[in-house]
Every structure is written in structure tokens, then in C-alpha cells.
């Protein structure tokens, strides 16, 4: 009897590994920047390009940095959720307008709504490289000390917002 149990057990173990592997998302590469200070930037503001915004201006509050672009199709998917989140006022959202043109970006925001406290322009994608951005949209959660605490790759879903992001925001705001 045992001679049948062993191959069966091995087979089931293999099926188990494959099942787990199938459910992992290879696009979600863990960021080495978690728990590291948010890389520095000083970039012109989309709606007021003569003003610059830097990450140190945002210290003392918990905030989201959402990487978006007018050419990014899946940004449209998460955008209504961001607009909704901005209305609740739970956490300020700052936009990193990645490798975009100013006019196109502004046009896009006036069409789809502007959830951002401010958007900054990363026209050549340099700051994107600093943040390890490889697939727009991406969203970083940054704490009061300016440390990255979480990164969401791809469009934010309602589930990710309610089960991951918002509980973390509440926790960080409380601390």
C-alpha cells in the first residue's frame, strides 16, 4: 500500500507548488525601497510649473504618491477610485505625472477628474527611476517621517484599497 502512497504524496506536493505558483503575480516585484526614505525630488507642479514641490515639503503627514500618465490605459481603471478617495479626505494623494506632456496631463485631469492635492511633472522619467517605477500606475504610501511604507503595483482595486492601503494609512496616522 505504501508504495502507492509515496508517489501520490509527491504528486500532490507538486500540484500544491504549481497551484501556488499559478496564483502569484509575476508582475509584482517586491520593491527594495520599502522602509527606506522616499527618494528626493524637486519637480515642477503640473498646474503651476514655476513652483517646485519636493518630498521634504510633505513631511509630517501620511501621503500617497500615485504615478500616473495620460497615455497610461490602466490608470483609467483606478482613477474613479482615487477621485472617490480624495473626496473622503482620509489621505492626501500627490500625483507623479510620469513621462507625460503637460498639456496632455492637464487635459486628462480635466476629463477624468483631479484627485491630486498636487501633481508634479517627471517629464524625463528620472524620478521614476529613483522610485523603481516600471509599470504605471504605481502607488507609494509614505509616512510622516518620509519613509516609504508600502508600494502598490498596477491599478488600485477596491479590495486593495480597503484591505491594505486604508488600514495602513489609519495605523500610520495613529502613530
Amino acid at each position: 500500500m505504501t508504495r502507492f502512497i509515496w508517489p501520490l504524496a509527491l504528486f500532490l506536493a507538486l500540484v500544491g507548488f504549481l497551484a501556488v505558483g499559478l496564483n502569484l503575480n509575476p508582475r509584482e516585484v517586491p520593491s527594495p525601497l520599502i522602509d527606506k526614505p522616499a527618494p528626493a525630488f524637486a519637480l515642477p507642479v503640473l498646474h503651476a510649473p514655476d513652483q517646485k514641490l519636493s518630498q521634504s515639503d510633505l513631511k509630517g503627514q501620511v501621503w500617497l504618491l500615485n504615478v500616473w500618465a495620460s497615455w497610461c490605459v490602466s490608470c483609467r481603471q483606478e482613477h474613479p477610485l482615487l477621485v472617490e478617495l480624495a473626496k473622503t479626505g482620509v489621505v492626501p494623494i500627490y500625483g507623479l505625472n510620469y513621462k507625460d506632456e503637460r498639456a496632455a496631463g492637464m487635459q486628462w485631469l480635466s476629463e477624468h477628474g483631479d484627485p491630486y492635492t498636487a501633481s508634479i511633472m517627471d517629464a524625463d522619467g528620472r524620478i521614476g527611476i529613483e522610485y523603481g517605477v516600471y509599470g504605471v500606475p504605481e502607488t507609494f504610501l509614505i509616512d510622516k517621517q518620509g519613509v516609504i511604507r508600502h508600494k502598490h503595483i498596477g491599478p488600485i482595486t477596491r479590495e486593495a484599497l480597503e484591505k491594505e492601503l486604508l488600514p495602513m494609512v489609519r495605523e500610520l496616522n495613529a502613530s
Partner: protein, 158 residues
């Protein structure tokens, strides 16, 4: 003759214009380009994942190649550039994974599996030859066998 000259001039101008359209002066320094390309083969393009940034034409790969080129011009060593990429994109950016405690299973797992398989095979074969080589017969079966074989070695055997 004149027509040929004008044509030639036009083509030369056209080629200049084409060249001016390129974002990066790629052919300026073949040695540098070779270095960029060589290093690009060690780094993974995170957009296409199974391509190196040297092979990929994704926009991010092009940006990263430009970044590498600029860092090289600034006198950075290959290791410094690799560290720069790993600090931003993680170990996954290395096309050939490093050998360290978290990747031991990846590197040595197949070897261990092979050894386990070979061990199981030898164990099985050994048990099989033992079973086949020395069949355990009872006294009665032994006698029957001898009878069937027509040999009566009774005196010697018992």
C-alpha cells in the same frame, strides 16, 4: 555629373537629418556603447521580464540604458551601476541571480533533487537485486525445485 552631385548632397543631408532625430549619440563612442551593451545583458527589463535591457526595446529599457551610459561617462564602475539598479528595482533586476542564502534553493535545488532521485534509484535497484538474487525458499519448496530439476543431491545438501 551635377545631378549626381546634387543627389549625393541631398542624401548626405537626409542622413544627417535622420541622425539628428536620434535621442542619444549612439555611435559617438563605440567602446562606451560596447560597455553599455555588455552591462545591459546583465540586467533584466522589468517591463518584459524575460528580456535583458540590452535586448529590450521597452521605453524603460531605453531610459535605463541612457542612465547606464551617463553613469559610465561620469566614471562609475560596472559594480556601482549594478548596485544603483538593485537599490531601486531589487534583486530581480539581476538577470543572473546572485548566490546568497535566499537563492540557495534556486541554485542548488535541482542538484539536490537529482541526488535524491539517484539515491532512490540505487536503493530501489539494490533491493530488487537482493530480492531477485536470493529468492527465499522454504525447505519444502527447495525440495520440490530439486525434484523438478531432476537432480537428487539430497545427500550432499542435507
Amino acid at each position: 555629373m551635377l545631378r549626381k552631385f546634387v543627389m549625393g548632397l541631398a542624401m548626405a543631408l537626409a542622413s544627417l537629418m535622420v541622425h539628428a532625430g536620434e535621442a542619444v549619440p549612439a555611435a559617438d563612442d563605440p567602446v562606451l556603447e560596447e560597455r553599455v551593451n555588455e552591462l545591459g545583458h546583465l540586467l533584466r527589463c522589468l517591463v518584459c521580464q524575460n528580456q535583458t535591457i540590452a535586448d529590450s526595446h521597452a521605453e524603460l529599457a531605453i531610459d535605463l540604458k541612457n542612465e547606464i551610459r551617463e553613469m559610465m561617462v561620469a566614471g562609475k564602475t560596472n559594480q556601482e551601476i549594478i548596485d544603483f539598479m538593485v537599490a531601486r528595482y531589487g534583486d530581480f533586476v539581476l538577470y543572473k541571480p546572485q548566490v546568497k542564502s535566499s537563492t540557495w534553493l534556486l541554485w542548488f535545488g535541482p542538484g539536490i533533487l537529482l541526488l535524491v532521485g539517484l539515491g532512490a534509484l540505487f536503493y530501489k535497484l539494490k533491493r530488487r537485486t537482493r530480492e531477485l538474487g536470493a529468492p527465499q525458499l522454504t525447505e519444502e519448496q527447495h525440495r520440490q525445485a530439486l525434484e523438478l530439476l531432476g537432480q537428487t543431491q539430497g545427500g550432499e545438501r542435507k
